[in-house]
Symmetry: C2
Subunit: 206 residues, 2 copies
DNA sequence: CAAAACAGCGTACACCTGTTCGCTGAATGT
DNA sequence: ACATTCAGCGAACAGGTGTACGCTGTTTTG
């Protein structure tokens, strides 16, 4: 009843996922890693792979999903930390950058497959980024009283900045990462100021 | 004396480059395309490939270089169109977007390999993006009288926005591309306004 | 307790890969 | 005119790839 069988299956499924992440963290793009090697690192026969995933692509999509999920959870935690005092911009970006540092392999997959490979891959990545934008947009409307339109423009801009900054962190050491983090904070503030100025501009016109 | 031999060599070298670009425009990432297939499409024997490139990587780096070079030339042309009247932001971004539409394959390579594969690849891509930033930065300092510091922050931000927007154009039709272009223009204006506000803020402090 | 389900294995197959090696014939240099 | 250079070729090799098939031994179900 405990499902000792299902439990074991889940375990090797995770082993496959971990194996794929490890191989990814090297220098190989996802498309250039092979079913056999992943299976080998997971400690199972190549043919057993098919008991868990139809394809390598199906595994890849799972990775993308998991990465996005983890990121969202983390940012939701950060949101709580903000409510008990702290700059929204600083806390969010520091959290984000820490996430990238901890999950370099999968985040790299995210960005890499964003502009490559199969359509389904790209759609999955876009979906994750859209989640990020939507949450930010809602915040700007509800807490900062921006128009929906201006909030949309702003959140899209910030998402572009932040995800690009994430990509800049891949090769660098911790010291450089902090520099990038500070720069990103300044850039997001630049956008926030621009949005504020635009809001005032629009008010004056009406 | 005409170099009929060298001319033929250059011709098949271009054939190889074109073949690689074609295969790239499909759905395969660069890392997943093979020397043999590229040679086949170029119409030469696999072994003859080595007369032109040591590696597939060497071919890839050539592609990155060519893409960056073409982009820079195009933007320099755009610069001249601006001097004879026209919004700097609008003309630049429309030019950029047109470039992406015309060179989707190589631009995709640029962005894809930006966060993947070998170190040398990434450095080459970063170098191209840095060119873009540097030219923009100089413009902001010389023509708009920004501080070097604020110009650097601004150009870096704009580069992130514009290159991300380029990536968004990959799958879409022309209609959607125009929408993205307009959005990008607004976003860059947002940043420009933010920078302007920041400049005034700093002046007041001193 | 017997029967069914099923995760994992090993073998086998056809195919594609990068790269070595020695050859050819035409363009070049002298 | 002869010797040299050298882009391109074909054959061959060792190794990797995805996947089909049928077999196990254990867990689950009835």
């Amino acid at each position: 009843m405990a499902g000792i069988r299902a439990k074991q299956k889940e375990k090797t499924r995770q082993a496959l996922i971990n194996a794929a992440m490890n191989q990814l963290s090297a220098e190989n793009g996802f498309s250039s890693l092979s079913l056999r090697e992943v299976a080998r690192e997971a400690g199972i026969a190549p043919t057993s792979f098919y008991r868990h995933f139809r394809d390598m692509d199906e595994l890849g999509l799972t990775l993308v999903d998991e990465c996005g999920l983890a990121l969202r959870q983390l940012l939701r935690q950060a949101r709580q930390r903000i409510e008990s005092g702290g700059s929204i911009i600083r806390v969010s970006i520091e959290t984000f950058m820490q996430f990238v540092a901890d999950n370099t392999a999968t985040f790299r997959l995210l960005l890499q497959e964003r502009s490559g490979r199969s359509r389904s891959f790209r759609l999955a990545v876009v979906r994750e980024i859209d989640h990020f934008k939507a949450e930010l947009e809602d915040y700007l409307v509800n807490e900062q009283s921006f128009t929906r339109e201006l909030a949309e423009l702003q959140s899209d801009t910030i998402a572009k900045i932040v995800f690009s900054a994430g990509a800049d962190c891949f090769d660098v050491d911790e010291e450089e990462r902090e520099i990038i983090t500070e720069k990103t904070i300044q850039q997001v503030r630049l956008v926030a100021r621009g949005a504020e100025a635009t809001r005032r501009l629009l008010k004056r016109e009406s």
